[in-house]
């Protein structure tokens, strides 16, 4: 069942378009991640959904009701900010209780107390209620911010790169924990990040945002298996992309030769891109002649950059090390054709 529906949002800043008809749907209890480079407008889309910014065009619906004209504080949407924005003049308890106090004006004090305790326990901060938020560690502050956003039980919880400031190990641990918590309470969530690993770890579905639109949305696996276009492929780190001309016999002509190609999704343009995955290239004595330019050990496998005689540059993944400068032959096992 669809919970949030974002339809054709347009927003520009001082004449420069930032979002061009961005659309998105989130099902109830689903975690969707907006993934895109910085400057792609993902934070702006989040702020528009929260009501902190107004779109120039487009509509947002929640459970079928349009949110246009509903002020921020009445939308019932929670948000965790990049810089956390914990209230420095309030302790942990007061921070977490804030949303509860705002929503239910006559909520009995005992009820608020119980809800705060329950939420703090959920995020692993039982016993922290009386602490000063300014004296907590980075990870603890993240948890307080999460508890504060969770406590009023919003219909939708949004995250704006909430783990950006943490180091990698702590971040990986928190992402896993965050997903577990959201799933346990069945929260509908929209999560913004520019980090692919983080997105894949937390999301049910990932929406890749490019040039003001959602370029592709799907499960992490769907997206990785069948990137919708060259931008998505590049963003996922698949950089072996070559302009391809699709012939009527379904073979593709490229700089590296002509190949039988698979097309993971329908292509409506004869000028497309050939994607060669790094693990689909075999190195031997025969095949396309190339020179090894770089070779580094990447834990378990080697990653090499090779350049063919006509200047095509490929990144490949292999079992054994290659000598830099050596001449090798490349056999390309499969080629996928995607939109340019």
């Amino acid at each position: 069942m669809i919970a949030l529906q974002v339809r054709d949002i347009v927003k520009s800043f001082d004449g420069a378009p930032l979002l061009r008809e961005a659309s998105l749907e989130i099902a109830r209890s689903e975690i969707v991640c907006l993934l895109g480079p910085s400057g792609s407008g993902k934070t702006t889309l989040l702020r528009i959904i929260a009501g902190l910014e107004q779109p120039e065009r487009g509509e947002i619906f929640f459970d079928g009701h349009a949110l246009r004209g509903v002020p921020v504080h009445q939308r019932g949407i929670g948000m965790m900010f990049q810089d956390l924005a914990l209230f420095p003049h309030q302790n942990v308890f007061e921070n977490v209780a804030f949303g509860l106090r705002m929503h239910a004006t006559r909520a009995p004090r005992d009820e608020i107390r119980a809800r705060v305790a329950e939420t703090l326990e959920l995020v692993g901060l039982a016993g922290f209620a009386g602490r000063d938020v300014n004296n907590l560690s980075g990870g603890e502050q993240q948890r307080v911010a999460l508890a504060r956003a969770l406590a009023p039980r919003p219909k939708l919880l949004m995250f704006d790169e909430p783990l950006g400031a943490l180091d990698r190990i702590l971040r990986e641990q928190l992402v896993a924990e965050l997903r577990a918590i959201l799933k346990r309470i069945g929260m509908t969530a929209l999560y913004v990040t520019h980090d692919q690993d983080e997105a894949f770890a937390i999301a049910d579905r990932v929406a890749i945002i490019h040039a003001g639109r959602v370029a592709q949305i799907g499960t992490p696996e769907e997206i990785y298996r069948a990137p919708a276009n060259a931008f998505v492929a590049r963003f996922l780190g698949l950089t072996n992309l070559f302009p391809a001309h699709l012939r009527y016999d379904a073979r593709a002509e490229t700089q590296l030769g002509t190949f039988d190609a698979t097309t993971p999704r329908p292509i409506n343009n004869l000028m497309a891109m050939a994607l060669i995955r790094p693990d689909r290239v075999r190195v031997g004595a025969r095949g396309i002649a190339a020179r090894v330019e770089e070779c580094t050990f990447r834990g378990g496998k080697y990653r090499a950059v090779v350049v063919t005689e006509n200047g095509a540059r490929l990144t490949i993944e292999i079992e054994r090390a290659l000598t830099v400068g050596a001449r090798v032959g490349l056999e390309i096992e499969s080629v996928e054709i995607i939109s340019a």
Partner: protein, 567 residues
């Protein structure tokens, strides 16, 4: 939204009517007189040239003396860690926050012919005449100014010095400079902007000094400020007073601009160190004797005048205090002197309300951050947005400067402007009891803005957004986020306004109605009358004023938040 916009105009409207309009009146009066009195006369008559010269000379000498006295203190507090340092430093602030009239009374109580110093010396050496006769001379003015401004040098230079990385001086020593040369070639140039800024500020205060010179200087010595007062009140020569005010305005504005420029340069990127790393304990006996000897002398110099006032006020028990409650028929007060306390409290209350309300609105109207790059915006959009924010920012800076203007205007000039602008239609307030609190508000307003603004700017905009997202309406956001964070700053601003109003003398001397004297005015009237009883009552009122001011200072120190806040 329209209501908010109208509110933002309130401080501007207040300044327009009670600041710019009187200034315009001064300008007009000084050039309006066609009969060769006024503007031209002060440039041709030797007498006024001497007044200007004396104003500059006494300010320069006072500044030099203050620097000489306070620089060693700045060094000791900056570089050494000793018990009681923070208490001692707090004590040095007290003279600065005392009303000028109290300082003047204190110095006459100490060095007058029947002052405690002379009495002690006469007894000690069996003299018939008081040996120290510095009342009505330049010497006592210089002493009082040094007493008053000591803490400015200590705070500005000491504060800067305390954060200066001592490693820099060590590097110079390693490179072969001896201690003296390292200080001369490395430390002193680094300190120079702080020293110059402190000197300039002290100079501005001395240049515009009124109460001290009026009372201690006697009839023969006058600064511009005192001369404006005398021309207005004693001679009723308004064109001359206006021309002198104009000269005074030009000087103080020029000095203030130079000071502001310098202060901006003070913020140059130096690697500053937290003070704990920089300070060390006093070690050798010589170091200890020098430091403690100096600190003891400093404490005696800064505390004796104040103690002398209190001691002298109790010379005959509570006699002088009892007299304050009596309304004598021949009294110069027309009312029991204690009424002055009531008047002062009423004016101070009104000043708090006016200054805090206007200051709060003004602070909100200029609560904009300098333009910074926004996170998730395309680079092109980022650039054009920066320009838009930039032009808004320069408007904010202009407004900020306008709000600070009254700070660079001397109190007597303000009061004089009131007299000539607000005593006739369209705005006749001559008999209004609001004239005094309005004048006090003008003086206190910049302080209030400056105590609230930094705290307001420290509130991250994300905090308000987070509160909104959590369900707080705009009004609720203000109550839950802004208010708790700025409450202390508001209290500090209110105490500032209170202290300013209680002690204000220059403007009040010109605008107060005769039957509604404030405490400083009552003290001044008593000091102007012969007789021990009158002097005793001046001492008693000074003691009361001193204690009230000290209580306010203590209250303020208790709520001050760390080192934020610009005063």
């Amino acid at each position: 939204m329209r209501l908010t916009n109208a509110l933002i105009l309130a401080p501007l409207a207040f300044l327009a009517v009670f600041y710019f309009y009187p200034l315009a009146a001064i300008l007009q009066t000084s050039f309006a007189a066609g009969d060769a009195r006024g503007a031209l006369e002060i440039f041709t008559d030797d007498y006024y040239a001497r007044v200007v010269l004396f104003t500059v000379v006494q300010a320069a000498l006072s500044t030099a003396l203050t620097l000489a006295a306070a620089l060693p203190a700045a060094y000791i507090f900056a570089r050494y860690d000793f018990r009681g340092a923070s208490t001692l430093r707090a004590l040095t602030t007290i003279p600065f926050l005392m009303p000028t009239i109290v300082v003047a009374t204190a110095f006459s109580a100490l060095f007058g012919p029947r002052g405690s110093v002379n009495l002690a010396l006469m007894q000690l050496f069996q003299l018939d005449q008081p040996p120290i006769q510095i009342l009505n001379t330049l010497a006592i003015i210089l002493l009082a100014h040094t007493f008053y401004n000591f803490t400015i040098v200590l705070r500005i230079v000491g504060g800067f010095w305390a954060n200066l990385d001592p490693q820099i001086e060590n590097v110079a020593r390693v490179l072969g400079a001896n201690r003296a040369r390292a200080f001369w070639h490395v430390t002193l140039p680094l300190l120079a902007p702080a020293i110059i800024a402190a000197a300039l500020l002290v100079f501005i205060f001395d240049f515009t000094s009124f109460g001290v010179v009026l009372i201690l200087g006697g009839p023969r010595l006058a600064t511009l400020e005192v001369e404006i007062y005398r021309q207005t009140v004693n001679l009723f020569n308004l064109p001359i007073a206006a021309a002198l005010s104009l000269a005074q305005l030009v000087c103080t504005f020029a000095l203030t601009i130079v000071y502001t420029r310098l202060q901006a340069r003070l913020a140059r990127p130096l690697r500053l160190r937290p003070q704990q790393i920089v300070r060390r304990k006093l070690r050798h006996a010589r170091e200890k004797i020098l430091a403690w000897g100096y600190l003891a002398a400093m404490l005696i110099f800064l505390m004796t005048p104040l103690v002398a006032v209190i001691a002298a006020s109790f010379e005959n028990g509570f006699g002088y205090y009892a007299e304050l409650f009596v309304n004598r028929r021949e009294s110069i007060m027309f009312v029991p002197p204690i009424d002055a306390v009531r008047n002062s409290l009423f004016f101070a209350g009104a000043t708090i309300v006016l200054a805090v309300t206007l200051g709060l609105i003004a602070a909100y109207s200029i609560d904009r951050r300098p333009p910074t790059a926004d996170d998730d915006v395309l680079s092109g959009a980022k650039r054009s947005r920066k320009i838009a924010v930039g032009s808004q920012w320069s408007a904010v800076r202009l407004l900020d400067a306008v709000y600070m203007l009254p700070l660079g205007t001397s109190a007597v000039t303000l009061g004089f402007g009131f007299i000539i602008a607000l005593d006739k239609p369209p705005l006749n307030l001559r008999t209004s009891i609001w004239l005094v609190p309005i004048a006090h508000t003008l003086v206190a307003f910049p302080f209030v803005v400056r105590s609230i603004l930094p705290i307001l700017r420290s509130i991250q905009p994300r905090l308000r957004e987070a509160a909104q997202v959590l369900g707080a309406s705009p009004a609720r956001v203000w109550r839950e986020i802004d208010l708790p964070i700025i409450t202390r700053a508001i209290i500090i601003g209110a105490v500032f306004a209170f202290t300013v109003s209680m002690g204000e003398f220059g403007a009040t001397a010109l605008v107060a109605r005769p039957e509604l004297p404030t405490i400083p005015i009552a003290i001044y009237r008593f000091l102007g009358q012969p007789g021990l009883a009158n002097f005793g009552q001046a001492l008693a009122l000074s003691t009361i004023l001193m204690i009230v001011s000290a209580a306010a200072i203590v209250a303020m120190e208790r709520v001050r938040i760390g080192e934020i806040g610009e005063f």
